[in-house]
Symmetry: C2
């Protein structure tokens, strides 16, 4: 079996060398090993047979056409910062890394859009927009190194989503190379448009299973005002939950509404010496970038106090606000210091946020594990982070069981198994739980229509059942 696979990829690579520049095909074992997996934990992966580094859409098309001819699986990859194993490789597959296709093709200020290749780093899009007095909102945690192609593939989110939406809300159109090498253009350059089925948003979030994105047209919005920032600490989790409900119910539209739980606060305190308090059960961080941000955050502060906040602090100074935000930005680094970590990503209705955190406290106790929870309270999207010892089999088993318990709890609360990180290899099994048999059938029908040979990410979210 291995020899068949090897000879298949060898023949593929030999044929492909005729079509793309020499440097675009990497087969050195040390090099390809670096492309075996993304940043996910507890997912399977193997070094791929080769890594392809296209410079043009024509190269991508040649790679996919040749892969289809030889029956070689292809795993498209952005910066490899994903957390669900969607970009993980297998030994019989080739990885198609889009990092060299990193050009800004167009910045159209008057029509508020940019056209970029998939390898452009997200932070660079935000910076280019800012230079024109415009704003590209999506800000995943990996914003400084993740790429737009990966963001499109996973429909990435971030802290801005509560007010501005996710990556897909800013994608106007795509160029996609299909599994057979044909080049498809979807969407348009206009803000509105309903000509035909919405293929753009079919590809957004498809995790590389339907085609390879080679160009992205992104909508920009006017630059917001510098935000005002508020931090509130609570010594009871339910009080923080009441505050979140109160803020949502007040009609406030903050540009950020984040929560840190007790475990995360302690870890951050240990790392940053921010003196948030040993008895703190939860911290809420809120920003507003409205014209009336000051009075909006005054109302929010009053709601927090009424809900039982121990301490409330506000500032209209962006630098001070950024310092307050450090508690949130350091949440994962702080938890990482406690051991190996498995970062989850579930989303529940707004009213279930603190109920889920309570369930997670029970799950942590039951499995005798430390689990820190932080995330986007304003849209119900939390990141429970399970700390474990990767060198201890029973600890790994406990971590995985806790992870599954958390995902089940989110589903039971009317939520989803993934809010922004994606399904990948990590949650392919959970996808069926959430979507049910008819849902899965339709997902696979669409997959079959676009990739009948099942060569794109065959072990990803739409793996053969």
């Amino acid at each position: 079996m291995t020899s068949v696979r090897t000879s298949r990829t060898d023949a593929f690579v030999a044929d492909l060398r005729e079509l793309v520049p020499a440097g675009s095909i990497l087969t050195d074992p040390d090099v390809v090993a670096a492309y075996a997996s993304d940043q996910s934990r507890l997912t399977t992966s193997e070094p791929p047979a080769a890594v392809l580094i296209p410079h043009t859409t024509a190269h991508v098309s040649a790679c996919l056409q040749m892969a289809a001819r030889h029956g070689v699986p292809v795993i498209p990859r952005g910066a490899g910062s994903g957390l669900s194993g969607a970009a993980n490789a297998s030994a019989d597959a080739v990885v198609l890394s889009l990092h060299r296709m990193d050009a800004f093709l167009e910045v159209d200020t008057a029509n508020r859009l940019v056209v970029v290749q998939p390898g452009v780093v997200t932070a660079d899009v935000r910076a280019a927009a800012a230079r024109e007095g415009l704003f590209y909102p999506p800000d995943p945690g990996s914003v400084e190194f993740c790429t737009i192609g990966g963001n499109v593939a996973t429909n990435a989110g971030g802290m801005c989503c509560v007010r501005y939406g996710v990556t897909g809300d800013f994608v106007l159109g795509l160029e996609v190379v299909l599994a057979d090498g044909r080049i498809l253009r979807t969407g348009r350059r206009t803000v509105k448009g309903v000509a035909g089925l919405d293929l753009t948003h079919l590809f957004v979030g498809s995790e590389g299973t339907l085609g390879v994105v080679t160009e992205v047209t992104l909508r920009l919005v006017p630059a917001p005002r510098p935000p005002h920032t508020m931090v509130a600490t609570f010594d009871r989790l339910t009080d923080a939950g009441a505050a979140v409900a109160g803020i949502v119910g007040s009609g406030a539209t903050p540009s950020m509404l984040e929560i840190l739980d007790r475990t995360t606060v302690r870890a951050v305190d240990a790392l940053m010496h921010m003196d948030l308090g040993a008895d703190v059960a939860a911290v809420l961080l809120v920003q507003s970038d409205h014209a009336d941000a000051g009075s909006e955050l005054e109302r929010v502060a009053a709601i927090c106090s009424q809900a039982g906040a121990v301490d409330v602090m506000s500032t209209d100074d962006p630098a001070e606000g950024a310092m307050l935000l450090e508690a949130r930005r350091q949440a994962l680094p702080a938890l990482e210091r406690l051991g190996d970590w498995l970062l989850d990503d579930v989303c529940v209705p707004l009213t279930a946020v603190t109920t889920l955190i309570e369930s997670i406290e029970d799950i942590a106790a039951r499995h005798d594990l430390t689990i820190g929870v932080f995330g986007h309270a304003g849209d119900g999207n939390l990141h429970p982070t399970v700390i474990f010892d990767g060198g201890d089999d029973s600890s790994v088993r406990a971590a995985r069981a806790a992870f599954d318990d958390i995902t089940a709890a989110a589903l039971a609360l009317g939520g989803t198994v993934t809010g922004e990180h994606g399904v990948g290899r990590l949650k392919a099994g959970w996808l069926r739980e959430e979507l049910g048999p008819v849902g899965m059938d339709v997902q696979h029908a669409v997959k079959n229509a676009l990739d009948p040979l099942h060569l794109l990410c065959p072990e990803g979210m739409l793996r053969t059942p």
Copy 2:
């Protein structure tokens, strides 16, 4: 041929009578004739063989299962207010009218969502939201009588889109009956979620070609402030274009930015005696509902004056603002008085709005027709309205030619053949022009995957080539 078709639908109706209540199947020729077409002009249609009026999702499922068994085409229909002929019937088809499925299933204020059946009138959703201090933004021109099901099918827009987005931006999840009768649930109740391919937005805007929507979960937003309103008149179209560009470039985010051209202004003046002025080449109507709406509209007014506006008028009084808006609301009624009308719907990049209006002036002159243009300048979505004499063949031919010229002009400017009305029968031919052969192939591949017998809207936007 007719007899085969007749016996096929007769057998279908006979079998269906066993499964659904007697009153749900209408075959009286006078009654079915009323379901032959939507509000589109110059589209083909025939009275359907029968009209089915389901009361439950189970009825819809039974209808589609039975239709698949007998090979009978099915045309889903909302209020019939569509303008593209997507709901037009054929003699061998049955119309499935969802108007009786008009229940509010849930209003969840704390999680800011409603769950409704497709037959709920859009204005009723807006009213229900308002009662809870919330807001459902989409406001198509037909908002008082169109239904949510139809809005989802066409991804309907309106005047709010410039700030709030279109119907699809508020659809969290759907229940859809597939062509074979199976019941699919897509999406979720949470604000974010990336579990699997985005099937929700594949069905939004699919014009009944992929399935029948039987339940819609809609996201609501906090109620905005009462808007401030500004009206500016221009005696040169290019000045109005400069004003639009200036407003967009200023970073202002108005909640409405509408334009009326010379022909429309004259028609409105004749109807309403608003005395907008015989020399007016264009009118801009702008609203803002921000906390700083007053200062935002002051800036907008200054931009208009600088661009050469003849007259600028502002008010912070909502009632006065509504009166100023009447010029826009009466645009179509005013143009309707001039003769038969063919209402177009194209969308171009923001910078091309007045270029398109100039092109349309040329097209009107060339075909010796009156064409009024009004629409959503803030998102490039215009509604050129061709006035013609339906009793005069040469006038009908000229109207159709002018309509095609307008659509071609929009495409040439980097636009789309439809911004919010949809493709339907009216523009099925233009869809291929816009999407190209690969785009059409993929559209049909998805259609085939979900409706392999081609029974849903077989003469609609994805009609067999």
